[in-house]
Subunit: 344 residues, 2 copies
DNA sequence: TGTTAGCACTCTAAGTACCCGAGTGCTAAT
DNA sequence: ATTAGCACTCGGGTACTTAGAGTGCTAACA
């Protein structure tokens, strides 16, 4: 159990280190406003805090820096979110100023503003496209042997894919197929599309369309594989280079690599979870991120769909500020996107 | 005028420096196969080459490195492109192995392979969308007051934009509008779209559609502003971090910043020009790139459309290799994309 | 008994001195 | 014209010193 004084010292130490990036010494601390103990007392307490694992030294006679456990305790118990300065609020709200008509545009813009505001890297995940519902489906022939399939969803998202047409196919067959697909697939979520395709739709096609076999096959292939990375938006990818915490080029490379690699995204942004989460250093599953902290938060669109936001910075991240910013933004985004989506 | 021996020494010096990234000394050079002069002779020649501005020293008693003028001369007169190793050819050709159906996919893949092959950063510009010709145009209503406009071009490219509908509009009006737009705009290039829209199409709309005013306005706005950065593809953005030439974090940041900023793209990739170009160091207009060399090449799709490829590396770039690679790729890309586009 | 002043000790960072080796320019011999 | 030889230069590594900030511990103090 920590005493009041220890709590105070831990908090001030972490705050100071977050701000200065320099190990904090007892002398330095004792001079801070709000601290009325001598450096000797603080030395004793810091030694104790180190014994308990909350602080660390970079070398035997250096000042202290927070350990991961220290950050964790700070984040869990000592974080008093202060209200955001008006200027930050204005900047955040500017996302919605120019009336953007597309979810994607708004998310892109959010990523940008977030990175500007925080000086860290932001990753935003749009709502899961697979939950979207087919509004319209069309097939536009391009040449003798290629056509483009277009799927419009209720959110205004448009998926399109070029696929090849078996040679010598009757153009009217394509039209017939498009009609049947529309009849059968409008109202279905992208998620369930392939199921529906294979079940009822195939049967009906068989009855009405010649050469349905090959046509169906290439179409199905085209529609099924999703553009998976299309839904991830970055802001301030280069902000890592601004952080004094990162100087090792090798590590920076690894980190940036990991962040861009689509396959790692689920590790960074836990897709299912609600609310705000903080992962500190080695709490991150990816070893390239062991020197980073990640704050994630989810937002809602309508009742069912959710997206998520992540801010990636050094462990010595300004947790207070970022939490406030993300709280505000996730609320605003939810409100705005839901409104847009519902079409009011 | 340079003597034979000076040419030889310049060439070997540049080659060696490109390979080793270390200043080249006279002793070192004299031991190279193909060099039969003593180090003293070479010293004299190098001093002469320095006086003429082809070589530089990093400090008074160091070996020589090529100056920009040196690289320029090397590139203009001493570049003997050697045939690519079989392995590289195989890797390049692998771009077309899996039958991708979309131009965009092929270009993306090219960017990736290029960066892997060269260890530099690649930027590929797709064919100018504005030259594409409208194949089909549709409007899909989403809610009471929003619809998505979709334009399919002859190349299979799909542009889509959500736009708002004035409240209380008759849905049949939208359909009418879509029909009229289709009648009038199919066959027009995206380039000329706004002209056509404003000239004839507006008149006809006026005659047939109620509330054409607001509807037309928002639609026009939506269709006109292009997604400009949509057509640029990167490979190996992080490869800069691999180059020993770049260690200054500040410079790296500047450079990466410039490369990603869409507005700088025209400065890097000269859109109009045909064939292969090399820009060395300060020959680049952007000051952030004064330590880089850029090799660009254009490729063709059909008879009219062109795209371009850029490889960005240190001035100490492996010009020989890159030129060979780009020569091969631009040819292949032209062939393949033209084939696809013509639909054979 | 909790707090603090004092002190010896430790370690980093910065500065200085030093040498080694690779390289140069120049001169004189071939 | 070429080259061997030599004095000189300079960067980079190693070793040593010093200043300053910080620590732990002990003993005095309220």
């Amino acid at each position: 159990m920590l005493t009041e004084r220890q709590l105070l010292i831990l908090k001030v130490t972490v705050d100071d280190y977050i701000q200065s990036a320099q190990p904090v010494g007892s002398n330095q601390l004792s001079k801070k406003p709000g601290i009325s103990y001598s450096s000797a007392t603080i030395r004793n307490e810091m030694a104790e805090l180190e014994r308990m694992g909350f602080l660390e030294k970079t070398h035997t006679s250096s000042g202290r820096i927070p350990s991961e456990k220290g950050y964790r305790y700070y984040v869990d118990h000592l974080l008093t979110p202060r209200p955001l300065p008006q200027q930050d609020i204005v900047q955040l709200r500017s996302i919605f100023e120019e009336k953007l008509t597309e979810t994607e545009e708004i998310i892109k813009r959010s990523a940008m503003i977030l990175s500007e505001l925080t000086n860290y890297t932001s990753i935003l995940l749009g709502p899961d496209v697979r939950m979207h519902i087919v509004k319209k489906l069309s097939i536009v022939p391009l040449t003798e042997n290629a056509a483009v399939a277009i799927i419009v969803t209720d959110s205004g998202h448009v998926e399109n894919r070029v696929f090849s047409i078996p040679p010598g196919l009757n153009p009217s067959d394509i039209e017939k197929m498009a009609n049947i697909l529309n009849e059968r697939l409008v109202g279905v979520s992208l998620n369930n599309l392939h199921l529906r395709l294979e079940q009822e739709t195939l049967m009906i096609l068989k009855q009405h369309v010649e050469h349905y076999g090959e046509l169906f096959h290439t179409f199905r292939k085209a529609v099924l594989l999703p553009h998976e990375d299309e839904n991830v938006f970055y802001g301030g990818k280069l902000n890592i280079l601004k952080q004094p915490d990162f100087h090792d080029l090798q590590k920076i490379r690894n980190l940036m690599d990991v962040m861009e690699e689509a396959k790692h995204i689920p590790m960074i942004l836990p897709v299912g979870s609600q609310g705000l989460h903080i992962r500190i250093g080695s709490e991150n599953t990816l070893s390239a991120m062991e020197d980073c902290s990640v704050i994630t938060v989810s937002y809602d669109i309508g009742e069912e769909q959710t997206g998520s936001i992540a801010i990636i910075g050094p462990k010595r991240m300004d947790y207070k500020r970022i939490v406030s910013i993300l709280d505000l933004l996730s609320g605003d985004l939810s409100k705005e996107l839901t409104r847009m989506f519902k079409g009011t």
